[in-house]
């Protein structure tokens, strides 16, 4: 008798399923709501970060063309966002080609490092680099973007041969750069990613000094479209 009473007190499986389903549904609605509410801000943040980085590593550029390498040739990337296989061609105000911003991505000390560097094919010159994403140790590995000496090593660096990171103070060749004391692995990772990205892209780019040729007529040039990146507020930059 008492046993059957106990069984009656147990909630029915329908009730268990219903409570899980209701909780899951409410949770789902909340999660989707917050995702949609923050989606544009997050997208803008990422786009702004990339825009700033692209124009930082390649100075004197007034707009960038997003390009892909497909079927042995460069084609215009029409996508809104950006991905790892993209390369950016920079032009000045008159529409004259200046150089490329090239991405590199790979393992760092703790997690993936995603970086960007500017390259002038005409002079074989690296114009600067920026770290887009990294989770290197705070205080040590994060010096790859906080240590201005290290970042400065990649400004006007001649790319005649692969870069090599050496212990600070022992630099004896042009292709060598000072590694960060205490963050040798992160410094070497940055250099390795740059060399890999450079080796990947340089054979695909147009010969020395020539403008990149891509498969679409350049009628879109100068006009705002999703395949191009404009600096955030060109008026302020030029005016001041």
């Amino acid at each position: 008798m008492s046993q059957s009473k106990n069984y009656e007190q147990e909630p029915s499986s329908n009730r268990l399923v219903a409570s899980m389903a209701i909780a899951g549904f409410i949770s789902g609605v909340i999660i989707i709501a917050i995702y949609l509410a923050t989606f544009n801000t997050i997208k803008d943040n990422k786009a702004r970060e990339l825009r700033q980085a692209v124009f930082k590593v390649l100075p004197n550029v007034s707009y960038m063309q997003k390009l892909y390498f497909e079927n042995n040739t460069l084609v215009i990337a029409k996508s809104d966002g950006m991905d790892d296989d993209m390369i950016f061609a920079g032009y000045d105000k008159q529409g004259k080609f200046i150089g490329y911003a090239i991405q590199g991505k790979g393992a760092g000390f703790q997690d993936t490092i995603h970086l960007l560097f500017g390259y002038l094919p005409e002079k074989q010159l690296m114009t600067g680099m920026a770290i887009l994403e990294s989770r290197e140790t705070p205080g040590l590995g994060d010096k790859i973007f906080k240590d201005m000496h290290f970042v400065g090593e990649f400004v006007n660096h001649l790319m005649k041969q692969a870069i090599k990171a050496v212990k600070k103070g022992t630099k004896s060749h042009d292709y060598e750069i000072d590694a960060i004391t205490g963050a040798t692995i992160s410094s070497k990772a940055v250099v390795r990613l740059m060399n890999a990205a450079f080796n990947r892209w340089s054979p695909k780019l147009s010969p020395l000094g020539q403008e990149p040729v891509f498969q679409m007529s350049k009628q879109t040039q100068g006009s705002l479209d999703s395949s191009q990146i404009q600096p955030e507020s060109p008026n302020i930059q030029i005016g001041k």
Partner: protein, 223 residues
Amino acid sequence: MATDASAYEEMLKGLWRENPTFVQVLGMCPMLAVTNSATNALVMGLATLFVLVGSSLLVSSFKRWIPKQVRISLYIIIIATFVTVVDYSLLALVPAIHKELGAFIPLIVANCMILGRQEAFASKHSIKYAVMDAIGMSLGFLIALLALGSVREILGSGSLFNVDLFGANFEPWVIMILPPGGFLTLGLLLLFFNWFTERRKQFLLKVAQADQSVAIVGVKDNG
């Protein structure tokens, strides 16, 4: 108001007597992983506060309708929802800090301190007590995170909240911001905490004894 005093007491106990880190030794994963700077510790503490208070509020409000057979999964659904809200909000509002905290924001779901409070407290008490308990526990957690983060940042980077303290000649003790530094600092803080608690106990014991002897003397005098 006796009830107000006891609700207040529920909050206070998390700060010291039942501090989730120093006494219960819960939630060690974020404690060791994100305390390499005071700023990270602060943001993690605030994120945990939001999740814990929100979850305790909901669990306590709906405790009558939560069947105990599926309670753990329901708690986790509630906690995970709050964590997702925090994750996206941080990513939208402070992308730089979100980047540094990385995988540890989603891992708040698995912080045993939060699930522990739902199971041990919020599911058995009224909303008011549950919220006070949650606030106290997360403030205790925040204090512990900040203590650890400050010590490690001061010794390991020579700064606090990114403000340089010692000037350019300071040679940072880099191991403090690496994982071993987390264990070292946590061990030393636990040692200090227990030493202090023990001393306090001894002191209270002495006071009690002194009181007793005074009382005895008093009795004798009267006699």
